[in-house]
């Protein structure tokens, strides 16, 4: 198989793009895809301070690598979720990536934020799925660090597969409010929010993995132990079967939604501006934000368990 660009020996084949590339041409192709996404969606400029949420996985580290290469002002944010050895290894990967390149990495460890704050404890005490608790924690800390430390933009490594799976989930349940807000650039709806962007939204998971591999990025390959059975993985598998039968399906699904569907939902799903949470002061659509509501539930459940334990103890 020959490289579509230089006619040398190809190392990677991309059916969705009807192309194949050698290593140097692939790296150029991937960087151009990211550059085009940033430019076409007016995501950010080289004068702005970018905070990149990094997990130690392929997507966030590949994104950080490309942005450093393109000369952007970046800082990484690693959130330690407290998921045992998996979190320790993820932290090590993110820290090693930053150290090897002399990049700034801000670390927040949930276990150090207070008792019962690690994801497994929160999920257990609130009886919520771990991924749901994790998502709420991430959104809160990402928003708070971006605001408190004066960043202009918050970036995540969500890729095409993530966006297609999320879109499928939102469509299957016709979650109109979620569909109205699913886009690669989310402008701030409150002065304490910063712009949120997803520069990899048109790069497939395979493409980001290939980029990370070719660049020698040492990322965490193992899956989060809590992800087993997550609905997002079921949607991804379904979409990958469709993609195998008809290459380009995922890209068409997301691109056409963003061109035609999302604006239609956005025009009918007006949302009032958020106020401020009475607990943490961050923007919220209720008296308490989702994070503070969850923390109240954690505290209440922990107190009730402690009281039950005291009653059961011998006098």
């Amino acid at each position: 198989m020959k490289c579509t660009r230089c006619r040398g020996a190809a190392e990677v084949q991309l059916r969705a793009h009807n192309s194949a590339f050698c290593r140097p041409c692939y790296l150029l192709f991937f960087r151009r895809q990211v550059e085009r996404a940033i430019a076409s969606e007016n995501m950010f400029t080289k004068e702005e301070r970018l905070l990149i949420a990094v997990s130690g996985g392929k997507d966030s580290l590949a994104l950080w690598d490309v942005l450093v290469d393109l000369g952007y002002d970046t800082t990484g944010l690693y959130l330690g979720l407290g998921i045992g050895a998996y979190s320790s290894r993820s932290h090590d990967k993110a820290a090693a990536f930053a150290a090897a390149r002399g990049l700034a990495l801000r670390v927040v460890e949930l276990a150090e934020e207070g008792p019962g704050m690690a994801v497994p404890a929160v999920a257990g005490l609130t009886r919520r799925p771990a991924c749901s608790a994790c998502g709420t924690m991430k959104r809160h800390y990402f928003d708070q660090v971006a605001h408190d430390e004066g960043f202009d933009v918050l970036l995540t490594g969500h890729n095409l597969d993530d966006e297609a799976a999320r879109l499928m989930g939102n469509v299957l349940r016709w979650q109109r409010d979620h569909l109205a807000r699913q886009r690669p650039v989310l402008p701030p709806s409150h002065p304490k929010f910063v712009r949120k962007v997803k520069p990899l939204f048109l790069c497939s998971e395979y493409e980001t993995a290939v980029y990370a591999f070719m660049r020698g990025i040492d990322y965490i390959v193992e899956e989060c132990p809590n992800a087993a059975g997550a609905s997002q993985l079921v949607y991804k598998d379904t979409l990958n079967r469709l993609e195998a039968a008809s290459p380009g399906t995922k890209q068409a699904f997301v691109k056409e939604f963003l061109r035609t569907g999302q604006p239609a939902f956005a025009s009918t799903e007006a949302r009032e501006a958020p106020r401020e949470c009475t607990g943490c002061g961050m923007p919220s659509y209720g008296e308490l934000c989702a994070f503070c509501s969850m923390m109240r539930a954690v505290q209440a459940r922990a107190a009730s368990r402690a009281a039950a334990s005291d009653r059961a103890a011998p006098a």
Partner: protein, 67 residues
């Protein structure tokens, strides 16, 4: 050939040379969901893997709450 599957941490031995695409189909791996690695090089579906070779099939799918 010896095939290491990651992140499953599973190794399987398969007899006979194969094209990568055929090998992936036999192992039930969908196209575009895993990288096939020989040494420090990626293989396309059209590449042949010889009986005596060792390769890694590394899944690329991640999931959960995202970000």
């Amino acid at each position: 050939m010896r095939v290491h599957l990651h992140p499953q941490r599973r190794t399987v031995d398969i007899d006979g040379r194969r094209r990568v695409g055929q090998l992936l189909a036999e192992l039930g791996v969908l196209p575009g969901t895993a990288m096939v690695i020989r040494g420090d090089v990626l293989l396309t579906d059209a590449e042949m893997v010889e009986d005596a070779e060792e390769i890694e099939i590394r899944a690329v799918i991640s999931g959960g709450s995202g970000a």
